[in-house]
């Protein structure tokens, strides 16, 4: 199947798959390679490599009762299904990791605010049935949980616009410039990775853009049809926002209290400094947008380059201080009690 990444062969996953495959094939003589690959969520090549291994397997090597399974590339034939006893080919119980992986994901998706009610109900019903079938192995699944953040109302409108292929009008907040802009977008898909985003073709910039739903201040579904150009969807295993090689470089030096910058900003390098801080080099199309970062860092870090960015942060701080003229600020920096071990010193966004 096109578009699927090539996965490395993993003996555990392959064995697991082949055990299900024999059960599945036993019921379906002459099954089509294409259909079986789709049902198992694998490529036809992966299926064919399983079919190469299966004839070497059986209940007893010496007894000569190997599985006589072959394929002409289109259909799959099993000439001695009796080689596996009736019982040996029954569906196998779920392993703890399998139940956990499926249940945790299903529960997470079911809590997505804005999900269609019909889909949510289907997820909840399926979850209950899988829990029942998994029995006690489902227990460990409560030790993992995932929350997706989403804005229910915005999500539902985007979802509807995609389904009905209609254009959207949004008022969108850009933190980099602290401003709201109005745009028309042709939505392509909703992506939840911690936060939920809509990937869309932006009619204002005539480019692909990703919008975070909690930054959509207002949304309207327009009557005009949505007509995004055919674009290749980006691989979600990478960060949604990738800086380009030609973007200007920014160097930030932070103390121990500013190490979170390396966790939040995709960067080229982060070198340890002797005081426990970091020297972080990153790229951004719009260095001015990092003025916010410089202000937030306060005594926990500073912009080293570019020079004018550091200057603009200093200038902004001076202007802001002017409003407090005449106020005697306390020297002691209170209010940042560190009570838990992941505390951020109050600095993370």
């Amino acid at each position: 199947m096109a578009g699927k990444p090539v996965r490395p062969v993993n003996a555990i996953d392959q064995t697991r798959r082949m055990l299900s495959l024999v059960t599945y094939l036993k019921e379906r003589p002459g099954a089509r390679v294409e259909d079986v690959a789709r049902a198992f969520g694998i490529t036809e090549d992966e299926l064919v490599s399983d079919l190469d291994v299966l004839p070497m397997c059986g209940t007893s090597f010496r007894g000569g009762d190997l599985l006589d399974i072959d394929t002409d590339g289109e259909r799959i034939w099993w000439h001695n299904p009796a080689a596996l006893g009736e019982e040996t080919a029954e569906p196998l119980r779920l392993a703890a990791d399998e139940a956990t992986a499926l249940l945790v994901a299903a529960r997470a998706v079911a809590t997505l605010p804005g999900l269609r009610e019909g889909d949510r109900q289907a997820l909840l019903r399926a979850t209950a049935k899988v829990e029942a079938a998994a029995g006690e192995t489902a227990g460990a699944s409560s030790r993992l949980s995932v929350t997706f953040e989403s804005e229910g109302g915005v999500f539902a409108d985007v979802d509807r616009a995609i389904a009905e292929r209609r254009r959207l009008w949004i008022r969108y907040y850009s933190p980099a410039r602290d401003e709201l802009t109005e745009r028309e977008i042709d939505p392509i898909r909703l992506v939840s990775v911690g936060h939920t985003y809509v990937e869309a073709w932006c009619r204002r910039s005539e480019a692909r853009r990703t919008f975070r739903l909690d930054r959509v201040a207002e949304i309207k579904i327009l009557d005009e049809p949505s007509a995004p150009p055919e674009i290749e969807l980006r691989d979600l295993s990478e960060a949604l926002v990738q800086p380009a090689a030609e973007d200007p470089e920014v160097v930030v030096e932070v103390g121990p209290g500013g190490r979170w910058v390396a966790e939040y900003y995709p960067h080229d390098s982060a070198d340890e400094l002797p005081d426990g801080g970091l020297r972080i080099t990153l790229r951004t199309p719009d260095p001015a947008s990092l003025r916010r970062l410089a202000l937030r860092l306060g005594r926990d870090g500073r912009i080293v380059a570019p020079r004018d960015l550091a200057d603009s942060a200093r200038q902004a701080a001076r202007e802001a201080l002017a409003a407090y003229d005449g106020v005697e600020a306390q020297g002691a920096h209170g209010g940042l009690a560190v009570t838990t071990d992941g505390t951020t010193g109050g600095s993370e966004p």
Binding site: E98, R125, I162, D178, A317, A329, T340
Partner: protein, 317 residues
């Protein structure tokens, strides 16, 4: 050429599932080509032990039985390995199809696909493409932290662990001995809740701050595991989401939309400024400073002082 591991595991699984009486190691070695080809008894034994562990990871219940001759035998009884009857309709099947694609971590992605394949073998309807059924929705669970897999297994098996952890504001990591309870992903980051043995108290750790390897410790948990472990409340309070007070600020007209979205009261002033009442939680001072000269804190005095303090640090540069 060495026989592929998947072939060996598959043969062992089929032998153990296909037998009605326990099979001895000797019988298994004679039945499975890869074992016959093992160079020595030792090499075979090691291979066999590893393979049994792998099959158990796949969910196979393998029993160890002593036979009349005092020889150890193995079998995977059908009764303990059969999937109980489960009937899912097309909508439920599509829902699970979507859920199975959510993990980006290799082990759990493999496990989720494996679960779906077992359900397919048990008759899960397959005529619905989950992407069609759910519109264009793609939820993904990101896992970038190396500590995730060992901690997931330790939580599952209730095994104590030790790891080096760097607190947010600490210059250097220090070792932490933890009885891990649960992992939770919030806003794309993973957190661990557990019992900190050195501090004798419950703690929450952010996985990205674990440096180096997570090592298992032998022995049992010493502290009781609570029925409900809540990670999110703790983390949300770090993020300033649990405000117990309110603050009064002036905000330049047209700026600071997120502050307006959070405001509990907004009053328009005459001079191009608005006055807002906003929730005052942990970290508000750092956030307000981001808006530079567009925000002036009025009350409380403590917040005003914190903001001025931060601004001075930046102004000095």
């Amino acid at each position: 050429m060495a026989i592929a591991k998947a072939e060996r595991l598959m043969n062992l699984a089929l032998c153990l599932l296909g037998t009605r009486r326990p099979l001895s190691k000797r019988e298994l070695r004679e039945s499975i080509e890869a074992y016959l080809e093992a160079n020595s008894e030792d090499a075979f034994s090691r291979m066999f032990e590893r393979d049994k562990d792998d099959l158990r990871e796949l969910g196979l219940v393998i029993e160890t039985v002593e036979n009349l001759d005092g020889e150890t035998g193995y079998l995977a009884r059908r009764d303990s390995n059969r999937l109980p009857p489960i009937t899912l309709d097309a909508e439920e099947a599509a829902a699970l199809g979507l859920a199975a694609k959510v993990w980006q971590q290799a082990r759990l992605a493999g496990a989720a696909s494996g679960a779906l394949q077992k359900l397919r073998a048990a008759g899960l309807p397959e005529d619905v493409d989950p992407y069609e059924a759910h519109g264009a929705l793609e939820p993904r669970i990101p896992v970038h932290e190396a500590a995730f897999e060992p901690l997931m297994l330790a939580c599952r098996d209730r095994r104590p662990v030790v790891f080096d952890y760097r607190k947010a504001t600490a210059a250097h990591p220090e070792p932490r001995h933890v009885e891990p309870w649960a992992l939770e992903c919030w806003r794309g980051h993973w957190y661990l809740a557990g019992w900190d043995r050195d501090r004798g108290a419950e703690r929450v750790f952010r996985l990205s701050r674990i440096t180096g390897r997570v090592r298992s410790r032998s022995g049992q948990f010493t502290a009781p595991v609570p029925d409900v472990v809540t990670v999110r409340e703790t983390v949300a309070s770090w993020a300033g989401e649990t405000a117990d007070r309110s603050a009064l600020i002036r905000l330049r007209s047209g700026s600071g939309y997120p502050l307006r979205a959070k405001a509990t009261a907004v009053r328009e002033l005459a001079d191009g400024w608005d006055e807002l009442e906003i929730p005052y939680g942990h970290g508000l001072d750092a956030w307000l400073v981001e808006f530079g000269p567009d925000v002036v804190v009025l009350e409380p005095a403590e917040l005003r002082a914190d903001v001025v303090d931060r601004l001075r640090a930046v102004a000095k540069g």
